[in-house]
C-alpha cells in the first residue's frame, strides 16, 4: 500500500522563521493578540482601581467581614431554622434556599402544566384546543410583574384568619395563607425518606437490567411491580419497623394566627402561581413545536409495525420530539429561576430581597451585588450543565 503514496505528501512543510515584519502573518497575529489582551487587562485593572479609590475616598467599608456579623433582620419563611440573632451568612443561606425552593418546584410544575397545555393545543377537540390557544396568547402578552401583583392581590382579598374558608377538617384558606394538616416529623420519617431515595436508585438499576434482558430475548417485562415495591413498599416497611410513629398536627386558630400544620404563605403561593402559569405558556409552545416536528410518517410507520398508540408515543415520537424540546426548555428553566427575583415586589424573601437588605444595612453594595450575581450564576450554570448533559444523552445516535 505504502508504495502507492506519493512521497511528496509525506514531507514536512519547510519551517518558517518568525520575521519581525508586518508582512509575516504570525507576527501580525501576535501583535494583535498582545494589543487586545493588554487592552482588556487595562480596562479591568482601571475599573477595579477606580472603584477601590472611590470607596477609599468616600470611606465606604469593603470586604466580606460583615458575613459573620449578627443580621438582626426578620425573615418570614425559612427552610432551615433561623432567628434574627443569626449571622448575615445564615440569612443569605436562607435566601438562597428560598430561591431554590420556588425555582425547583416552579420548574417541575411549569413543565407538567406547560406540557398539558401544549398537547391540549394540538387536541382535535375544538373547545380544548381553543382554550389552550387563548391561554397561551393571553399569558405570554402580560408582563410577569403585573401577573405576580395580580395573584398577590387576589390572595390578599381572601378572608382573614377568623373567617377562614374551611373546606375540610384542618384545611384553612385565608389571607394568611393555606394551612394544611400534617404530622409531627420524627426520625422514622427521615429514615423512610432515605429508603425512598435508595429505592429510586435501585429502581434505576432494575430498569437497566430489565431492558438488557429484553434486548437479549425480545420479551418486554413490566417495571411497575418493581416500582411499587421499591418506591412505596420499602419506605413503608422501614417506617413500620421503626415503630410506625404518626401524630397528626392539625392547624388551629390560636391568638392572632393559626399554629401547627403546614403553611403555604400567600407570598410564596402568589410567586409560584405567577411563575408557573407564565412559564407554562412558553413551555406549551415549545412542546407543541417538538411534537409537530416529528413527521406524520413516523406515526404511520410505527403503527404499521403493530405498536399501539402509547408505545408509538413513548418509543418513537417522544424521543425525537425531545431533541427539539430540550434546548429551548433549558432557556425557560433559566428564565423561571431568574424571574423568581421579582419576589421582591410581593414580599417573598428570596436571595435578592435578603441580599438587598444586607447591602442596605452594611452599605456594601458591591459585595451584596456580587453575592446575588454569584448565586444566580451558580444556579443557572448548574441547570445548563444538567440540561446539556441530558440533551447529549437523548441525541439521536447517527451512524
Amino acid at each position: 500500500m505504502s508504495s502507492t503514496i506519493d512521497p511528496r505528501l509525506l514531507r514536512a512543510p519547510p519551517k518558517k522563521g518568525l520575521r519581525l515584519s508586518w508582512a509575516d502573518e504570525r507576527f501580525r497575529a501576535i501583535v494583535w493578540q498582545v494589543l487586545i489582551v493588554s487592552a482588556i487587562v487595562f480596562v479591568i485593572w482601571w475599573l477595579v482601581r477606580n472603584t477601590q479609590h472611590n470607596l477609599e475616598v468616600r470611606r465606604i467599608a469593603t470586604g466580606f467581614g460583615f458575613l459573620g456579623r449578627e443580621a438582626g433582620l426578620p425573615i418570614g419563611e425559612s427552610l432551615i431554622s433561623y432567628t434574627p440573632r443569626d449571622t448575615y451568612l445564615r440569612a443569605l443561606t436562607v435566601g438562597v434556599l428560598n430561591t431554590l425552593n420556588v425555582a425547583v418546584v416552579g420548574v417541575v410544575l411549569a413543565t407538567i402544566f406547560g406540557t398539558v397545555i401544549g398537547i391540549a393545543r394540538l387536541s382535535k377537540n375544538w373547545l380544548v384546543g381553543r382554550i389552550a390557544t387563548i391561554y397561551v396568547e393571553v399569558i405570554r402578552d402580560v408582563p410577569l410583574l403585573l401577573q405576580l401583583l395580580f395573584w398577590y392581590t387576589i390572595l390578599q382579598s381572601l378572608p382573614g384568619p377568623r373567617q377562614a374558608i374551611n373546606p375540610a377538617t384542618g384545611v384553612f384558606l385565608s389571607n394568611r395563607g393555606l394551612k394544611l394538616p400534617f404530622f409531627h416529623w420524627e426520625s422514622a420519617h427521615t429514615a423512610a425518606f432515605g429508603a425512598f431515595v435508595i429505592g429510586c436508585v435501585a429502581l434505576w438499576f432494575v430498569a437497566k437490567q430489565l431492558r438488557a434482558k429484553q434486548y437479549a430475548d425480545g420479551q418486554p417485562r413490566a417495571l411497575w411491580p418493581w416500582a411499587l415495591g421499591l418506591l412505596l413498599g420499602l419506605p413503608i416497611a422501614v417506617w413500620l419497623v421503626l415503630g410506625a410513629p404518626f401524630t397528626t398536627d392539625i392547624p388551629a386558630l390560636r391568638g392572632f394566627n393559626f399554629s401547627g400544620g403546614l403553611n403555604v404563605s400567600p407570598e410564596y403561593f402568589a410567586l409560584l402561581i405567577g411563575l408557573v402559569t407564565y412559564t407554562a405558556g412558553f413551555i406549551a409552545e415549545i412542546v407543541r413545536a417538538g411534537i409537530l416536528a416529528v413527521h406524520q410518517g413516523q406515526w404511520e410507520a410505527a403503527q404499521a409495525l403493530g405498536l399501539h398508540r402509547g408505545q408509538v408515543l413513548n418509543r418513537i415520537v417522544l424521543p425525537q420530539a425531545l431533541r427539539v424540546i430540550v434546548p429551548p426548555m433549558t432557556s425557560q428553566f433559566l428564565n423561571l429561576t431568574k424571574n423568581s427575583s421579582l419576589a421582591v415586589a410581593i414580599g417573598y424573601q428570596d436571595i435578592v430581597s435578603i441580599a438587598n437588605t444586607t447591602l442596605n444595612q452594611t452599605g456594601q453594595a458591591i459585595e451584596g451585588i456580587a453575592i446575588i450575581m454569584g448565586v444566580y450564576l451558580t444556579i443557572s450554570l448548574s441547570i445548563s450543565l444538567f440540561m446539556n448533559w441530558y440533551n447529549a444523552r437523548i441525541t439521536l445516535v447517527e451512524r
Binding site: R58, P74, R176, N356, G363
Partner: protein, 345 residues
C-alpha cells in the same frame, strides 16, 4: 489563533498590565459640591417615594412635604431660588446607594441617624430635623391597648431600615414572637396591612400618622402608645465635602433660629430692614460676614425664609394637618422641646 501564540500574548499583556499597575494613579481633585450645584443650576434631592406630610407629589405633580421643604430651603440658601430642585424619589433600599454613587446631592428621606451610617456607609448627618420613634399601628377592631399584646401576630415591615432591626431587638427583649411580612415598596406594605395580611404595621410614629391620615376611615386604625426606639431623622450628605455639609446643617439651624426670633416668610423683609436685634442683623446678612463664611450670599437666610418660612411654619404646613404634634420637636424654649440652634455668631 494558535494556542502557543496566545500564551505569548498573555505573557506580554501581563507585563504591560504590571507596568500600568506600578504607574501612579492620577489623584482625583474632588470638585466642591457647591460649585457643582451652582454650575448645574439645581439641587438634586433624594426624597421618599410618597409619604404624606414628608414627601409626596400633589395633584398637580408638585412635590410637597416636610422633607421637600428642606430640599427647597437648601436650594434657596445656595441658589437663591427654592424652585431649583430636582426630586429623586428613592425607596428605603435604594437611598444609600443613590447618595454614595452621587446620583443625589443630599438625602432628605426620613433617615435615622445611626453610628454605622455615619461611619461605614461614608455619610455625614447634618442635624436632626425631626425627633421620631418607632411605633405600631393596628386595626381598632382588635381592641389592643399595648404593643406587648402582639405576641404571635403577623407584622408588616419595610426592609433595609432601622425599623426592621428595632423590631427584632424589641421582640427579643420582650420575648414576643411575631411573623414578619417584609415588602419593600411603601404602597405595597401598607396595602398588605390594610388588606389584613398583617395584624400590625410598624414604622416611625410620624410615618404611621401619615399612613393613618390617608386611610379612607382613619378612625379604624389605632397607633399604639408604645414607642420602641429613638429615631432622630435628618438630612445627610456624602462624607468628604465639609463645606456642603455645613450649608445643609446651618440651613436647618437658620429655620430653627428664625422661629426662635419670630422671623417668618411674611415679616422677614421688614425684619431685615428694621429689626434692631444684633443676632437677627447677623443672621439676615445686615451685619458681619456669616453668609460669606459658608460660601453663600449675605442674604441667604432671607431667601430661605421667603421660600419655606421658619421651622414652625414648615411643621404647621406639612405635619400638623396629618395629626402630628410638635412634642419633642418644639423649640427648646418650650418645656419638652428638643429643637435647638447654636448661635449665629
Amino acid at each position: 489563533m494558535p494556542l502557543r501564540h496566545l500564551s505569548k500574548a498573555v505573557g506580554a499583556a501581563v507585563l504591560l498590565g504590571g507596568l500600568a499597575l506600578s504607574a501612579p494613579v492620577q489623584a482625583q481633585t474632588p470638585t466642591s459640591m457647591l460649585d457643582t450645584i451652582r454650575s448645574r443650576g439645581n439641587l438634586i434631592c433624594g426624597v421618599n417615594t410618597g409619604l404624606a406630610g414628608f414627601a409626596q407629589p400633589d395633584s398637580q405633580g408638585v412635590w410637597r412635604g416636610f422633607d421637600v421643604d428642606y430640599c427647597r430651603a437648601i436650594a434657596a440658601a445656595i441658589l437663591g431660588d427654592g424652585t431649583k430642585v430636582r426630586y429623586v424619589p428613592l425607596t428605603a433600599q435604594s437611598r444609600f446607594t443613590a447618595l454614595q454613587s452621587g446620583e443625589v446631592d443630599v438625602l432628605v428621606r426620613n433617615t435615622t441617624w445611626t453610628l454605622s451610617r455615619d461611619t461605614s456607609l461614608g455619610f455625614d448627618f447634618a442635624g436632626i430635623t425631626f425627633y421620631d420613634g418607632q411605633g405600631f399601628m393596628v386595626k381598632a377592631s382588635l381592641g389592643l391597648t399595648s404593643a406587648r399584646e402582639l405576641n404571635g401576630a403577623t407584622i408588616c415591615v419595610q426592609p433595609g431600615t432601622t425599623t426592621e432591626q428595632n423590631l427584632t431587638d424589641w421582640a427579643r427583649s420582650n420575648r414576643i414572637e411575631f411573623r414578619p411580612v417584609v415588602i419593600e415598596r411603601i404602597e405595597e406594605v401598607v396595602g398588605a396591612y390594610t388588606s389584613n395580611r398583617c395584624d400590625a404595621y410598624t414604622t416611625d410614629v410620624s410615618g404611621l400618622a401619615a399612613t393613618r391620615a390617608v386611610q379612607p376611615r382613619p378612625a379604624d386604625h389605632v397607633i399604639l402608645p408604645d414607642v420602641i426606639s429613638k429615631e432622630p431623622l435628618g438630612p445627610l450628605v456624602r462624607h468628604g465635602d465639609q463645606r456642603f455639609a455645613d450649608i445643609v446643617r446651618w440651613t436647618h439651624f437658620a429655620l430653627l433660629g428664625a422661629e426662635e426670633f419670630g422671623l417668618t416668610a411674611a415679616n422677614v423683609d421688614q425684619a431685615a430692614a428694621s429689626d434692631p436685634r444684633p443676632e437677627v442683623q447677623r443672621m439676615l446678612g445686615k451685619n458681619g460676614e456669616l453668609g460669606q463664611m459658608l460660601g453663600l450670599q449675605p442674604n441667604w437666610v432671607v431667601s430661605v425664609l421667603k421660600t419655606t418660612g421658619n421651622y414652625g411654619e414648615v411643621f404647621a404646613r406639612n405635619l400638623t394637618p396629618i395629626g402630628i404634634q410638635r412634642g419633642p420637636n418644639a423649640l427648646w424654649t418650650t418645656p419638652g422641646g428638643l429643637q435647638y440652634s447654636p448661635p449665629f455668631r
